[in-house]
C-alpha cells in the first residue's frame, strides 16, 4: 500500500510502486483533469506540481512521490481566483482544451519559480504541446497573469 498526498488529501492505494503517477491520479483516484498525451514526458498534458515544482506525471512512478505534496489542476485554486486561471479565462485560451490543464500547471510553476520571466524564459519554460496551436493566446495569458500578480492593469500596454 502506497500513501499519496494529493490536493491536501491522503490516499492509501493498492497499486504497483512503478505505476506512473498519471494513471494513479486518473484511474485510481479519479482526478481526470490531468491528461495523457504521450507517456514519454514530451507533451506536458500530464503536468502536476510535486512539492511546488512542475513535473510530468506520466514519467514519475507513484512510489517515487509517496509522501510528497502533489497538486493537480483540480486542487490548484479552490475558489478559482489564482491569477493564471483568471488570465487563462480572460484571454479565452482553450480551443479543444485537452492540453490546457497541463499548460495552466506549467505556467503556474514557471511564474512561481521565475517571477520576472523574459520572453526567452517563457519560451524555454513552457514546452507543452498544443495541437490546436493556442500559442499566441498562451503568451498573452502569461503576460496577463504577470500583470495580475503584480497588481497592474492587464489591459494597459504589453499586448501585441
Amino acid at each position: 500500500v502506497i500513501t499519496l498526498k494529493v490536493n491536501g488529501k491522503s490516499y492509501d492505494l493498492d497499486v504497483e510502486a512503478d505505476t506512473p503517477l498519471l494513471w494513479v491520479l486518473r484511474d485510481t483516484i479519479g482526478l481526470t483533469g490531468t491528461k495523457y498525451g504521450c507517456g514519454v514526458s514530451e507533451c506536458g498534458a500530464c503536468t502536476v506540481h510535486v512539492d511546488g515544482q512542475g513535473q510530468r506525471s506520466c514519467a514519475i512512478s507513484v512510489g517515487a512521490v509517496a509522501g510528497a505534496e502533489i497538486t493537480t489542476i483540480e486542487g490548484l485554486s479552490e475558489d478559482k481566483t489564482r491569477p493564471v486561471l483568471v488570465a487563462w479565462i480572460q484571454e479565452g485560451v482553450p480551443q479543444c482544451g485537452y492540453c490546457q490543464p497541463g499548460l495552466v500547471m506549467a505556467a503556474t510553476a514557471l511564474l512561481s519559480q521565475t517571477p520576472n520571466p523574459t520572453d526567452a524564459d517563457i519560451d524555454d519554460g513552457i514546452t507543452n504541446i498544443c495541437r490546436c496551436g493556442t500559442y499566441a493566446e498562451i503568451r498573452r495569458a502569461i503576460q496577463r497573469a504577470l500583470a495580475l500578480l503584480k497588481g497592474r492593469d492587464p489591459d494597459q500596454g504589453g499586448r501585441q
Binding site: Y36, C38, D79, V86, I89, Q95, Y98, G133, T134
Partner: protein, 757 residues
C-alpha cells in the same frame, strides 16, 4: 486586432447599449466570479456535454429549451473540437430568439433521438469547415421559429394582435400597454403552438449578436480541467482495455500466448480482434489501463508480417515518381500546352513532393462502451455521432433506436474523427464482457503507427513556358496521389475519372495562362489515407503557390506584382462567385499591411501565398492570403518571425474571436509538416512513434507576431476551420527563397541544408 476584446456574458446588454449609441466598442471581460467553498460553478455547459447543463425547462422546437427562469438551452448538432460550435451555433439561434445572452446554455443534440424522430437533428457530422456554412439558415430559422411561437403565446395570453407584441432580452412586451411577460412564463403555451408559416430570418444588416466578440461558453470547463473528454469517462464497474494492431500494414495476428500474462495483477482477459478496428490485432482487458497496457507489452505475440514486409517510403516515392513519367487522366486541356512547351525558348520545370502526415490529436483515440442484451451505449468525443451510432448498431445487430452515443468533449478532430477503429474495438470487447463497461485507449505509439488513416503523400511535376515578357504562355501539371475516402468524379471536356482532392484548385487556375493541361493520377497504395485538416488543398496550394513564385523569380519580377498581373489577365470564369476582384483586393491588402517590399537584413525574406479553397463541385469560397517573414541564420536555422493573414470576412463572421483562434492555430498545425513532421515507412511499418520523432510545433517556434486583416466581400464564406493551413508552407518556403536563394520543393524543412555564409 489588438483592441479585439470580447463581450463578457454579463456585459452584453451594456455593450449593446453603447454600440447603439454609436460609440466604439471596447469591452473587457470581468474576472470570473470567485466561488464560495463547495459552491457549484454555474457554467453554461455540463462538464458531460451530452447532458443538459440544468434540469427541467420546456422544449420550444427540438433545438431550444426554455427554463422557468427564461434561461435558454440550445441543442447543438455539430461536435465541439475547439472551433467553438457550442458558442457560435448558440449565437445563431439567439440572434433570432432575442434572448439574454448571459443566460444562454448549450448541450449536444442526441443522435439517438434523431434516429427515433426521423432525423430531427439533420446532418450531425462535423467537417469541411461546414458548421456555419451548413448550419446558419437552419439555426437562425430555429431561433426565429421559437421566438414567433413565444410571441403568439403572449398575444394569446393578452388576447391582443401578435403584431403588438415585441421581444427583447427574453421579455415579451405588449407595446400599447407596456405589459410584460417573460419567455419562461409563456414557454409552456408556446410549446403547444404550431406555426402555419415560418417567419423570415434576419439579414446580416439586422444582426445584433452575430459578429460580436464572444468568449467561448466552455472556456471555464476547459481551464479548470472539468470538461469530460472521452478518455475521462468513468462508469461503475468499468474495466480497461489496451489494444495493439499488427506492426506491419497488411500483417495479421498468428498466435498469442495468454499464459505468459494471465497471472499478472488485474488481468481479466485477452481477445483476438481479427477483422475488428482498422486492422485487427489483440486486446488485453484489466482492472486498470496501466495494468492492461503493461500486460499487453509483456504478451508474446506472433505476427504474420504480410505482403508489405519489405516495403518502405523509398518504394512509395519510386512508384509515384515513375507514374509522373506516364500520361494520366486529363482533367484540364485548354489550348495546346504540350506543343507550346516543346517549342518554347524558356521552360521552367520542377518536381514537388509531400509526405504522409498523422493527425496526432492531443487526446489519443479511445472509446468507452457498454453492451447489454438490448442496448448499447458508447462514450467518446466524435466528429460524427450519427455515423458512430450506425456503426454500433451494425456491430451489435441492435436497432439504432437502442444505441446511445454520448458525445464527449473531443481533444482535437482535424479530420481524424470520421471512421473510428477504437469505437469498433470497444464495442466488440464490451459485448464479450456481457454488460460490463470497458474503456479502450490507444497509446500514442499506436496512434502514430497504426492510426485509422494518414494524410496522403502527393508528388507533382509542373512545367511552364515563359514568353518574352516573362509571363507564362503555357502551364502543365501532372500529379500523383493516394486517393482518399472515394472522391472520384468525372471532370473536364473528356469526362476523365479523377480524384477531386488531387485535382482541387488546379481545375480553375486563378492565373491567366492561355494554354493549360492538368493530369491527375490516383494510385492506391497499402497505406490507409483520409481527410486531414485542409486535405487536398495542402499539397496543391504548396505546389502551385511555390511554382508561381519560381516563375516570378525566373521572370525577374516581384512575386506579388507578378501574381497581380496574372490574376488580372485571367478570364472572369476562372473564378467562382465573381471573385476575381476579391482576389486582387486580398493581394493588395496583404502587400500593404505586411510591409511587403521593405528592405530586409541579410538572411531575412518575405514570402506570399493565396488561395480560395474552391472545390469540385463548387461549395463556396473563403479567400485567404499569408505573408510570412522568415529569417535564416547562417547555421541554417529557420525562424518564422511574423505572419500576416488576410482573410475573407464575407457577409459576416459569427464570432470573430473563434475565427481568429482558428486562423492563428492553423499556423502551428501547418508549420509542423513544413518544419519537422513526416511519417515514414520501413519494413511495412511506420518508423516514427511519438512526439520525439514526430515533433510538434511548440511555443518557442510559434511566430512572435501574428496579424490578421480582413477583406469585406459579398458572400457567405465557406468556412474557417482549415483555410489557412495550405498557405503556410508556400509562404514560408517562398520567404526562405527570398532570404537565401534556395528553393524548397519537399517537406519537411529539416531535410534541406540552408546554411549560408
Amino acid at each position: 486586432v489588438s483592441a479585439g476584446r470580447w463581450m463578457d456574458r454579463r456585459e452584453f446588454l451594456v455593450a449593446t447599449a453603447i454600440v447603439g449609441g454609436g460609440m466604439a466598442l471596447r469591452v473587457i471581460g470581468a474576472p470570473p466570479r470567485a466561488l464560495a467553498k463547495g459552491q457549484e460553478s454555474p457554467l453554461p455547459i455540463n462538464p458531460q456535454p451530452w447532458l443538459p447543463p440544468a434540469p427541467g425547462g420546456v422544449e420550444v422546437g427540438p433545438w431550444v429549451v426554455i427554463g422557468a427562469d427564461s434561461s435558454v438551452t440550445v441543442r447543438v448538432n455539430q461536435s465541439e473540437m475547439g472551433q467553438g460550435v457550442f458558442t457560435s451555433n448558440a449565437m445563431m439561434i439567439c440572434e433570432e430568439l432575442d434572448c439574454d445572452w448571459s443566460r444562454v446554455r448549450a448541450v449536444y443534440a442526441d443522435a439517438n433521438r434523431s434516429v427515433r424522430e426521423n432525423g430531427v437533428y439533420g446532418r450531425m457530422a462535423t467537417g469541411t469547415s461546414a458548421s456555419v456554412r451548413r448550419g446558419r439558415v437552419l439555426y437562425q430559422q430555429a431561433g426565429a421559429s421559437a421566438r414567433e411561437r413565444l410571441r403568439l403565446a403572449a398575444a394569446q395570453h393578452w388576447d391582443v394582435p401578435p403584431a403588438e407584441v415585441e421581444t427583447a432580452n427574453g421579455v415579451l412586451t405588449h407595446t400599447p400597454t407596456r405589459r410584460t411577460l417573460t419567455y419562461g412564463e409563456v414557454a409552456p403555451v408556446a410549446a403547444t403552438i404550431a406555426l402555419i408559416e415560418e417567419p423570415a430570418i434576419k439579414t446580416p444588416a439586422q444582426y445584433k449578436l452575430i459578429g460580436r466578440r464572444v468568449r467561448m461558453l466552455d472556456t471555464e470547463l476547459k481551464v479548470y480541467g472539468q470538461a469530460t473528454y472521452g478518455i475521462d469517462v468513468r462508469l461503475p464497474g468499468m474495466v480497461y482495455a489496451a489494444t495493439k494492431q499488427p506492426p506491419t500494414y497488411g500483417g495479421t495476428l498468428k498466435r498469442l500466448h495468454f499464459d505468459a500474462i494471465k497471472n499478472r495483477p488485474g488481468v481479466i482477459a485477452v481477445m483476438r480482434m481479427d477483422g475488428i478496428g482498422p486492422a485487427g490485432g489483440v486486446a488485453v482487458v484489466a482492472d486498470t489501463w496501466w495494468r492492461a497496457k503493461t500486460a499487453l507489452d509483456a504478451l508474446p505475440i506472433e505476427w504474420d508480417s504480410g505482403p508489405n514486409a519489405t516495403k518502405g517510403s523509398p518504394d512509395l516515392y519510386e512508384e509515384f515518381r515513375a507514374k509522373l513519367d506516364e500520361p494520366g487522366p486529363i482533367a484540364v486541356d485548354q489550348g495546346d500546352a504540350e506543343s507550346i512547351l516543346r517549342s518554347a525558348s524558356r521552360v521552367v520545370e520542377a518536381v514537388y513532393e509531400t509526405a504522409h502526415q498523422a493527425h496526432a490529436t492531443m487526446e489519443p483515440p479511445n472509446c468507452t462502451a457498454q453492451v447489454t442484451g438490448d442496448r448499447a451505449d458508447v462514450w467518446l468525443g466524435v466528429q460524427d455521432p450519427a455515423g458512430a451510432l450506425n456503426t454500433v448498431a451494425r456491430l451489435t445487430g441492435l436497432p439504432g433506436e437502442n444505441v446511445y452515443v454520448h458525445n464527449c468533449f473531443e481533444g482535437g478532430g482535424f479530420g481524424a474523427g470520421g471512421t473510428r477503429g477504437e469505437l469498433a474495438q470497444a464495442v466488440v470487447v464490451a459485448r464479450a464482457l456481457g454488460g460490463r463497461p470497458v474503456k479502450v485507449l490507444w497509446t500514442r505509439e499506436e496512434d502514430i503507427r497504426r492510426p485509422n488513416k494518414y494524410h496522403p503523400m502527393v508528388s507533382a511535376r509542373l512545367r511552364a513556358a515563359l514568353g518574352p515578357d516573362g509571363k507564362p504562355t503555357a502551364i502543365w501539371i501532372r500529379t500523383v496521389g493516394n486517393p482518399l475516402d472515394g472522391g472520384l468524379t468525372q471532370y473536364g471536356k473528356y469526362q476523365a475519372t479523377v480524384h477531386r482532392q488531387l485535382l482541387r484548385g488546379f481545375h480553375l487556375l486563378p492565373y491567366g495562362v492561355p494554354h493549360q493541361r492538368v493530369e491527375v493520377h490516383a494510385v492506391e497504395t497499402w497505406v490507409p489515407v483520409g481527410a486531414w485538416r485542409s486535405t487536398g488543398s495542402h499539397p496543391n496550394v504548396f505546389f502551385l503557390e511555390s511554382f508561381v513564385d519560381e516563375l516570378a523569380h525566373a521572370a525577374g519580377k516581384d512575386p506579388i506584382d507578378y501574381r497581380r498581373a496574372l490574376i488580372a489577365a485571367a478570364a472572369p470564369e476562372s473564378f467562382e462567385d465573381h471573385a476575381k476582384d476579391d482576389w486582387l483586393r486580398t493581394l493588395d491588402v496583404a502587400a500593404e499591411k505586411s510591409g511587403w517590399g521593405q528592405r530586409l537584413p541579410r538572411g531575412t525574406g518575405m514570402g506570399f501565398a493565396i488561395d480560395d479553397r474552391k472545390f469540385i463541385p463548387a461549395r463556396g469560397l473563403a479567400i485567404g492570403a499569408i505573408v510570412a517573414r522568415v529569417s535564416v541564420a547562417q547555421t541554417g536555422t529557420v525562424s518564422v518571425e511574423r505572419i500576416d493573414i488576410v482573410y475573407d470576412q464575407g457577409h459576416a463572421l459569427i464570432n470573430p474571436e473563434a475565427v481568429e483562434r482558428q486562423l492563428r492555430g492553423q499556423i502551428a498545425w501547418s508549420m509542423g509538416p513544413a518544419m519537422t513532421q513526416e511519417i515514414t515507412f520501413r519494413n511495412g511499418g511506420v518508423v516514427e512513434s511519438n512526439f520525439h520523432d514526430y515533433p510538434m510545433i511548440r511555443l518557442a517556434e510559434f511566430p512572435k507576431q501574428v496579424h490578421i486583416h480582413y477583406v469585406k466581400t459579398n458572400r457567405w464564406i465557406s468556412g474557417v476551420g482549415e483555410e489557412i493551413v495550405p498557405l503556410v508552407t508556400p509562404a514560408i518556403y517562398n520567404a526562405i527563397f527570398a532570404a537565401t536563394g534556395k528553393r524548397i520543393r519537399s517537406m519537411p524543412l529539416r531535410h534541406h541544408d540552408l546554411r549560408w555564409s
